[in-house]
């Protein structure tokens, strides 16, 4: 009798866990469904190759934002990767009060609201440079990326067995060569997935770009001039009164979500494929 009660309780609990888990993916599925439903119709090859059209004219594209986002990602990565990887290695290698403090700062940086980062980039870069620019947007995004790269680098380097460093030192290698030729190659897979996660985080960021990259209805390749970005376009178009632009905003959301999904899949592949076996 008591056994039966226990079995029933057990299966009730199982049902509860399953339904709660299902409940948590419902909003996610609904978001994707909604975006696909509203956005899929505008997506054609022309959508990627044309510039935005004035309100009232159909067939506008997102070429300017696509190129802008690509440029912002490249610039931000160029700024964030060397600093992030170096800091990550430093945190993994050195253990003292200072690095402990630095680790806490990195956590704080990770929690910093992106709008604040945007305002800071405005103060530090836009004002001195005298105008909005792709570069200032990249600075803001690189700050958003940094904690991700630092954390993954630190964790990967920490996992490298000490015996590998011993092997390098016992051949007479100095510290620099050991880091550059032994430690970094052995952690390449982990560092790479950190970078990709970082990129997938910043491609969708809007707030830091509002007062920095600003937006641009034309294709711009000059880092000192404003550029558009996919999330900026969504933001501007979604707030416009035109139906045609709302559709484009939905289509762009779909593009963005596919990019983020693709980057996440790539992280998994990178982690597996370039994982170093010891």
């Amino acid at each position: 009798m008591r056994d039966n009660v226990r079995i029933i309780k057990d299966s009730l609990f199982k049902i509860l866990v399953y339904s709660l888990a299902f409940l948590s993916i419902v909003p996610l599925l609904m978001i994707i469904l909604q975006i696909v439903k509203n956005g899929a119709s505008v997506i054609t090859l022309k959508f990627f190759l044309r510039l935005p059209q004035p309100p009232g004219e159909s067939g506008g594209g997102i070429l300017n934002s696509l190129i802008g986002t690509f440029m912002l990602v490249i610039l931000a990565s160029t700024l964030a990767i060397p600093v992030g990887v170096a800091t990550g290695i430093f945190l993994a290698e050195v253990k003292n009060k200072f690095t402990e403090f630095l680790g806490t700062l990195v956590n704080v940086l990770q929690g910093l609201p992106s709008i604040v980062v945007g305002i800071l980039a405005y103060l530090w870069v836009v004002k001195p440079m005298g105008g909005f620019s792709a570069f200032s947007g990249a600075v803001a995004l690189s700050i958003m990326m940094l904690p991700m790269i630092i954390k993954t680098t630190e964790e990967t380097v920490r996992l490298i067995p000490f015996s590998l460093k011993e092997a390098s030192f016992s051949l007479g290698a100095n510290y620099t060569k050991t880091i550059l030729k032994v430690i970094i190659p052995a952690s390449a897979g982990g560092i790479l997935s950190g970078i990709i996660i970082g990129i997938s985080r910043i491609v969708g960021e809007t707030a830091p770009l509002l007062f920095t990259a600003f937006g641009n209805p034309y294709v711009n390749l000059n880092p000192a001039k404003p550029v558009d970005a996919l999330p900026l376009l969504i933001f501007n178009y979604a707030m416009s009164p035109y139906d045609e632009w709302h559709k484009i905003a939905w289509g762009t959301s779909l593009v963005l979500i596919v990019i983020v999904l693709g980057l996440n899949l790539l992280t998994k592949v990178a982690g597996k494929k370039w994982k170093t076996k010891f």
Binding site: E166, F169, L171, G172, A173, P185
Partner: protein
């Protein structure tokens, strides 16, 4: 009497403020195999890690005394120079996981920024792998990763990597403790062969291994050198009571 390549004088070392090794005096003869034996924790690994200055990589490391390589105090030399002249092979095989077999063997040169011509590299790699009895097994797969090899092959690869630098002394820190009996006997054959060209210091807690391959044996106990002499003499007629007890398995 053979030439003493390495002289250890009143050498002590340890961690924090605790000396594991206490006032070691030892002279290592050139082109012979010298075994360092003793129970776990007696300081034998610490001792050979001091000979190539790897011990000081530990932030808590302490040491005092002198070690002379051909009359030159290694603690007054640049540690990277010392380590190029005194190679080391560790307990567990540790080939560089991102490098091919070829790149592993030549790693000592690349890591030291020494530029070599292609044919010089080929020659060094072939020579070192032949010396390490590994050439025949890997000559067709030189560009595969070193980590694909078996444990015993990996350890011979690490020996080849150390030999490629043409060291004067080769330190082996329990090189067979992670290997199966067959791989172990291959490494032992190799050690005997290698003493033609290089001085070998072998740390082992395997008494019969020391008997099989070494010419001289040092017995360490609780951080002190109990006895040093020709291996045969140590095994047949140990002078110290502790040595005899250890060799007969009374403790270990």
């Amino acid at each position: 009497m053979e030439n003493k390549i390495l002289k250890i004088e009143k050498f002590s070392a340890g961690y924090g403020n605790n000396y594991v090794l206490k006032g070691i005096n030892l002279e290592i003869p050139e082109k012979k195999v010298t075994a360092i034996m003793g129970p776990s924790g007696c300081g034998k690994s610490t001792l050979i890690r001091c000979i190539n200055r790897i011990h000081e990589l530990n932030p808590d490391a302490i040491y005092k005394g002198h070690i002379y390589l051909n009359g030159e105090d290694i603690y007054r030399m640049n540690p990277t120079i010392v380590r190029r002249k005194i190679g080391m092979v560790f307990q567990r095989p540790n080939p560089f996981p991102t490098m091919s077999i070829y790149d592993n063997v030549i790693a000592g040169y690349t890591l030291n920024g020494i530029k070599l011509k292609r044919n010089e590299k080929d020659r060094i790699v072939e020579e070192a792998l032949k010396k390490a009895f590994l050439w025949d097994e890997v000559k067709d797969v030189l560009h595969r990763k070193g980590t694909f090899l078996s444990g015993g092959q990996q350890q011979r690869l690490c020996i080849a990597r150390a030999l490629a630098m043409k060291p004067e002394i080769l330190l082996l820190d329990e090189p067979t403790s992670a290997l199966d009996p067959k791989a172990t006997s291959r490494i032992e054959e190799l050690i005997v062969e290698l003493k033609e060209t290089v001085t070998i210091v072998l740390v082992t807690h395997n008494i019969s291994q020391a008997a099989r391959v070494s010419d001289y044996t040092a017995f360490l106990y609780l951080g002190e050198l109990m006895e040093f002499g020709p291996t045969e003499r140590i095994f047949v007629a140990p002078k110290h009571k502790k040595t005899e007890e250890y060799l007969t398995g009374k403790f270990g």
